[in-house]
Amino acid sequence: MSDLAKNLRVVKALGLRSVKQTFRRPQLMAPILVFPTLLLAIQTGGAGGAVNLPGFPPVHSFLQFMLAGAMMQSLMLAGNSGGIALAVDIEMGFTDRLFAAPIPRYTIVLGRLAGTATLGLLSALWFLVIGLAFGAPIEGGVLGAAIAVGLVTATAMAVGGIGAAIALRTGSASVVQGLFPLVLVVLFLSSAFFPNALMIQPAREIAEYNPLSFVVEGVRGPIISGVDANELLDAVLAILGIVALGLVLSARALRHRVRVG
């Protein structure tokens, strides 16, 4: 078996463990699916009239508009939960087992990110099913749905990289957990839950430059109107930016973790 094949087996095994760990630990699972689903239900039930505001994009329903936001919330919290799980591994010494194995150390981070990406994929599918079940069509059809799922999965992995970096740097689950409110701030200062055009300053300015807004629009476009190449390109570039940031931070944090043991 080649080294590449061996490393891919390790990433797969660690990714699978990460997914099982999330499903077996309710406190990791709840923020990923339960909270975003509840928030989606509350928002669509209580603020559905927002679609009639001047400047609101043309949509079939508020639920259709909100699906992308729910997916973003879920993947951001999946990234945060992935970081918490990695920090728990460090705290209980499980990462020592991995560091003492003859594997490249980047596979440890990639395994965790593979797990987070899988959770992102599951969350995207979950919210698409909810949308369809409650009458919100996917205007971009099968291709649009596939693009939305692909973007959410890739973003989950990218955001997971930042969560992993913080976990490796601090080695503390409570520190990573403490970032939970920051995740919500970043979400609410994007177009995840409300169109940029209807925000007031300075939130509107911040949301316009928030990379997450580009991803949101890339996911929302295929759901509410259809696939738009420019939106898609912006989303991919934003994801690549987050991936680059996550990779740099993770690599530095991994070196730090190896140095301090």
């Binding site: 078996m1 061996k6 087996r9 390790v10 095994a13 660690l14 463990r17 099982k20 760990q21 077996r24 630990r25 591994d89 209980m92 010494g93 499980f94 020592d96 087992r97 991995l98 560091f99 003492a100 194995a101 003859p102 594997i103 190896v258 140095r259 301090v260 043991g261």
Partner: protein, 323 residues
Amino acid sequence: MPAIVVEQLERAFDEVHAVRGVDLAVDEGEIYGFLGPNGAGKTTTVRMLTTLLLPTGGRAAVASHDVVKEARAVRASIGVALQEAALDPLMTGRELIRLQATLQGLPNAEGKRRADALLERVELTEAADRRVGTYSGGMRRRLDLAAALVHEPRVLFLDEPTTGLDPVSRKTIWEEVRSLNDEGTTVFLTTQYLEEADQLADNVAIIDHGTIVAEGTPEALKAQIGNPHIQLQLAEGSLAEAEEICARIGKLLPPRDARTILVEVENGAGDIPKVVRALDDAGIEVESLELVKPTLDDVFVAKTGHHLEKEKDEEPDLEGVEA
């Protein structure tokens, strides 16, 4: 050929020097006991030898590979069961060993075969599909040991494998360590239990404050101490006066507690009547009296001036202090 060679190994955490110029040589096929109190530098040394921590000075080679320059080759040659069994409570025992097999690069079928065999060896077959969180302390240690053996390592590092275990579980681990050693595995065992080192190790190194203070076979180390000592527990009377009397008969050793006197005597049991008579004449009542032959604790006392077992939990744990 030595399985482990360590030369002037050092590790500092900021201003704290956890390991200060350690030299060791462990032969292939031996059980090497690394004995010392909490915070003495045992775990820091093991973490360097298992490539989990970079040394700040000196060098070390395990299975003929340098721990810094050939870290990956070292990791492929060693099995590691670290302190307090680093196990995921949400995984099952079987999942953990299968994961360990994958980490060691074993093909799926081989990993499955070895997992089944190892679970049987450590008597965990019935519990294999239960989550580790439901295991007892002894079961967790046995599982950790099985996971460390999945790739049949040349050198096995066991960091305090029986700390916190009941006597029955401790004995089970001892039997397994002996059996592994009989099969040819070199075992590097850290422990703070004197009896464990005495029972298992072919050679022992005693570490205190990051420095090796004694090394040799348990028998040779105890022979260096020479004379036995009398251990007296006083029921009534002045401790200071009793010490003064005992000092006339033999050499006083550092006491374990406020009511105990340890006095080294030349004639062994022959000196007991002298001690009893002298104390009786002074009106000092003795609660218990015992002749104690030299132990590794006596070696520790002779080399460091304090007892090993008394100091458990008193020393600060330096592991985890950031660089």
